[in-house]
C-alpha cells in the first residue's frame, strides 16, 4: 500500500513542521555565527580608518593645530561608531545589521556603505547571473549529450577539453583570455565596465557594457560550462544509463528521445538544481578576482578597496550580503528539494 494512510498524514505534517523549524534555526544560527566570526577577523585589520580619513582631511585642508586634530579624531570615532569598548562597537554593529545600515563608508566618506554596495550590485549580479545560468544550461546539455553518446568521437573530444579547462581557476583563465583577445588580437578591451559616459540608457550604452563584459564572462563560463557542470552531468548520465529503470524502459520499446527526456534528463536535472541553487546563492559575493583583473566595477572591486583602506563597514556590508546569499541558497534548497525530487523526503 502507498504510505498515505490518514494517521501518517498528521504525523507527516508534524515531522514537516519540525523539519522546517530546525532548518530555520540552523539557518539563522549559521548566519549569526558566520557574521560574528567575520566581524572579529575584519576588526583585527591593522589599517585604521580614522587615521586614514584624518590624513586625507589634514592633507587637503592643512590643519596643523594638534588640539583641533584631536577633536576631529574624537568626533570621527564617535560618528563612525568606533569608540568605546569592542563589545560596545560589536553591539552597535549588530543593531546596524538589522536595519541594513552599515554606517558611513570610508572609501567614499560620507556616502553610506550600503549605498555604495547597492550601487555596484547590478554590475556584479548582471555578470554573475548571466554567466552562472549560461554555465548551468550549456554545461548540463553538453554533459547529457556527451554521456549519452559516450562512444562517439565528439564526446571524447569534449571530455578532453573539459578535463583541461575545468581545473584552471577563472582568474588564470582571465589572464589567458586577456593575453589572447585583448593583447594579441585586440578585439576586446583590457578591462573596465563601460568606456563611454552614459547619459541615458540606449542601445549604444548597452552594447558598450556588453562589449566590456564579454571577456570577464568568458573567463567564468569557460572553466564552468565545459568544466564542472559538464563533467558532473556527463557522469550522472552514464550512471542513469546503467540504472535498471533506464534499461527496462529500453526493453519496453520506448523510443530514445522519450528515454532521454523522461528517464535521463529528469533524473539528472534534479540533483543538478542543487548546484544551481548554491551557485546562485554565491553570486552576491562577486567574482572578486575577475573584477580586479578586468577592473570591472562590481562589488568585489569595492571589497578589495575596502580591505586596503580599513573600511570595516563597507567590507562588512559586502561580506554580509555574500554570507546571506550562500546561506539562503542552501536553506531554500533544503526546504524545497523534497518537493522537487520525489526520492527525497524531509528528515
Amino acid at each position: 500500500m502507498p504510505n498515505r494512510e490518514k494517521p501518517s498524514m498528521v504525523k507527516g505534517l508534524k515531522q514537516l513542521l519540525k523539519y522546517i523549524a530546525t532548518r530555520t534555526a540552523a539557518y539563522l544560527a549559521t548566519i549569526f555565527t558566520g557574521v560574528t566570526l567575520t566581524y572579529i577577523v575584519v576588526k583585527a585589520m591593522p589599517v585604521d580608518a580614522v587615521e586614514n580619513i584624518l590624513f586625507n582631511i589634514i592633507s587637503v585642508t592643512a590643519v596643523y593645530d594638534p588640539a583641533s586634530i584631536e577633536l576631529l579624531r574624537r568626533n570621527l570615532y564617535e560618528i563612525l561608531g568606533m569608540g568605546g569598548s569592542p563589545v560596545e562597537s560589536y553591539l552597535i554593529f549588530i543593531r546596524r545589521v538589522f536595519t541594513f545600515d552599515f554606517g558611513p563608508s570610508i572609501i567614499a566618506y560620507p556616502t553610506p556603505a550600503s549605498e555604495i554596495v547597492f550601487n555596484r550590485l547590478p554590475w556584479t549580479v548582471g555578470l554573475l547571473l548571466t554567466s552562472t545560468l549560461t554555465v548551468w544550461v550549456t554545461g548540463n546539455l553538453l554533459g547529457v549529450i556527451a554521456g549519452y553518446f559516450r562512444d562517439r568521437r565528439f564526446a571524447k573530444v569534449l571530455e578532453s577539453v573539459a578535463i583541461t579547462l575545468y581545473p584552471i581557476p577563472y582568474y588564470i583563465m582571465a589572464l589567458i583570455l586577456i593575453f589572447l583577445f585583448a593583447y594579441l588580437l585586440r578585439i576586446f578591451p583590457l578591462g573596465g565596465g563601460i568606456s563611454i559616459i552614459p547619459e541615458k540608457l540606449n542601445l549604444e550604452v548597452i552594447l558598450n557594457i556588453l562589449w566590456h563584459s564579454i571577456l570577464p564572462a568568458a573567463s567564468l563560463i569557460l572553466p564552468g560550462a565545459l568544466g564542472w557542470s559538464f563533467l558532473s552531468s556527463r557522469t550522472l548520465t552514464m550512471q542513469t544509463l546503467a540504472e535498471d529503470y533506464t534499461r527496462y524502459a529500453e526493453a519496453r520499446g520506448l523510443p530514445r528521445s522519450h528515454i532521454l527526456k523522461r528517464y535521463i534528463l529528469r533524473n539528472i536535472l534534479l540533483p543538478q538544481t542543487t548546484v544551481l541553487a548554491l551557485s546562485l546563492g554565491g553570486i552576491f559575493g562577486g567574482a572578486l578576482l575577475t573584477e580586479i583583473v578586468f577592473t570591472y566595477p562590481g562589488v568585489g572591486q569595492i571589497a578589495y578597496r575596502a580591505i586596503f583602506s580599513g573600511d570595516v563597514y563597507t567590507l562588512m556590508a559586502v561580506l554580509f550580503l555574500s554570507i546571506i546569499g550562500t546561506a539562503t541558497g542552501t536553506y531554500l534548497l533544503d526546504l524545497l528539494y523534497p518537493l522537487i525530487d520525489p526520492r527525497v523526503r524531509y528528515r
Binding site: V42, A44, Y171, F179, A303, L319
Partner: protein, 292 residues
C-alpha cells in the same frame, strides 16, 4: 604503528596499480613528477639568488643563454620559475597536510558518532562554508602580513580549506556505516575505535588521497589568487607572486614582455591539469562507473 605502516604499504601499492592501469593518472603523475624534480632537485643548483634584483640583463626574450628570458626585475625567469614551483608546491603541501587531515578527523568523528556531536560539528563546518573564503583570507593575510612565510601561508590557507573534505568524509562514512559489514563488526563486540580503523579506513583512505590532491589544487589556486591581489609573500618566489610583479609592477603585457607572464601562467596551468588528472585517475579507479 602497525596500521600506519600497513596504510603506507597499501597506498604504495595503490599508486603502482593506478600508474599501470589508468592513462589519466599516468599523464598527470608524469607531468607532476617533472614539476617536482624542477622544483626540488633542480632549483638548488640555481647559479644566482632568485630573490635578488638586477643580477642579469633585463627584459631579454628567450634565448640560448636565458631559455625562458629575463624579467624587468633582472632575474633569470627559468631559475625563478624553478624556485617558484618549489615554494608554491610547499605551500600547497602544508595546506593539504593540515586541512585534509582536519577534514578527515572531523568528518570521521561526525559520521561515526552521529547525534549531537555530528550536529555540532556540521554546524561549525557549515558556518565556515558560508563565510566567503577569499575575502576572509585577504583580511587575515593583511592582519598577519608580518608573519607571512612559506609554511605559515600554507597554514593560513588551510583555515578555509578544511570544511569540504570534512563534509565529504562524513557522507562517505555515513554511507559505509549503513553497509552490513559494519553492523557485523559492531555486533561482534569490537569497540567503536577499532571499527573505524579496521573496517572503514581502507575504504576512506582512497577518498582521503583524493581530498588531499584536491586540497593541493585549491591551495595553489588560492595562493596565486592572493598573490595577484598583492597579498602573498611578495619578496619571495611563488608562481602567483611572479604573475603579480609581471602584471602590476612590470606591466609586462603593455610593454610586450609576454614571456615574463607566460612562464608562470603556463606552469600554473600545467600544475592544475596534472593534479586534476591525478585526482580523477584516482576517482575513476575508486568509483568504476566514471570509467565506462
Amino acid at each position: 604503528m602497525g596500521t600506519v605502516t600497513e596504510s603506507l604499504r597499501r597506498m604504495g601499492k595503490l599508486l603502482i596499480t593506478l600508474y599501470m592501469g589508468n592513462l589519466k593518472f599516468r599523464i598527470g603523475f608524469t607531468i607532476l613528477s617533472i614539476l617536482v624534480i624542477l622544483g626540488f632537485a633542480v632549483s638548488p643548483f640555481s647559479p644566482t639568488n632568485t630573490r635578488s634584483w638586477y643580477i642579469v640583463p633585463r627584459d631579454r626574450p628567450p634565448s640560448y643563454e636565458y631559455p625562458l628570458g629575463t624579467s624587468s626585475m633582472g632575474r633569470d625567469i627559468l631559475w625563478e620559475l624553478c624556485a617558484s614551483i618549489r615554494n608554491s608546491l610547499t605551500i600547497a603541501f602544508v595546506t593539504a597536510m593540515i586541512a585534509s587531515h582536519i577534514g578527515l578527523f572531523l568528518g570521521f568523528i561526525a559520521g561515526i558518532r552521529g547525534g549531537v556531536i555530528d550536529r555540532i560539528l556540521m554546524f561549525i563546518t557549515d558556518t565556515f562554508i558560508i563565510i566567503p573564503g577569499l575575502p576572509l583570507l585577504m583580511v587575515v593575510t593583511t592582519v598577519l602580513k608580518r608573519y607571512l612565510t612559506i609554511p605559515t601561508l600554507g597554514m593560513l590557507i588551510s583555515i578555509v580549506s578544511w570544511p569540504w573534505p570534512s563534509r565529504q568524509v562524513r557522507s562517505m562514512v555515513l554511507s559505509l556505516r549503513e553497509r552490513t559489514f559494519i553492523h557485523t563488526a559492531k555486533l561482534s563486540g569490537m569497540g567503536t575505535f577499532r571499527v573505524i580503523v579496521q573496517e572503514l579506513m581502507p575504504y576512506v583512505l582512497g577518498w582521503h588521497l583524493i581530498n588531499f590532491t584536491n586540497t593541493i589544487l585549491f591551495s595553489i589556486g588560492t595562493e596565486s589568487g592572493l598573490a595577484i591581489l598583492g597579498l602573498s609573500i611578495l619578496d619571495d618566489n611563488t608562481l602567483g607572486v611572479m604573475i603579480y610583479w609581471a602584471l602590476n609592477w612590470g606591466y609586462a603585457l603593455f610593454r610586450g614582455i609576454w614571456w615574463w607572464l607566460a612562464a608562470p601562467v603556463a606552469t600554473l596551468v600545467l600544475v592544475f591539469i596534472s593534479f586534476y588528472l591525478v585526482s580523477i585517475g584516482m576517482t575513476e579507479f575508486m568509483h568504476p562507473i566514471a570509467r565506462r
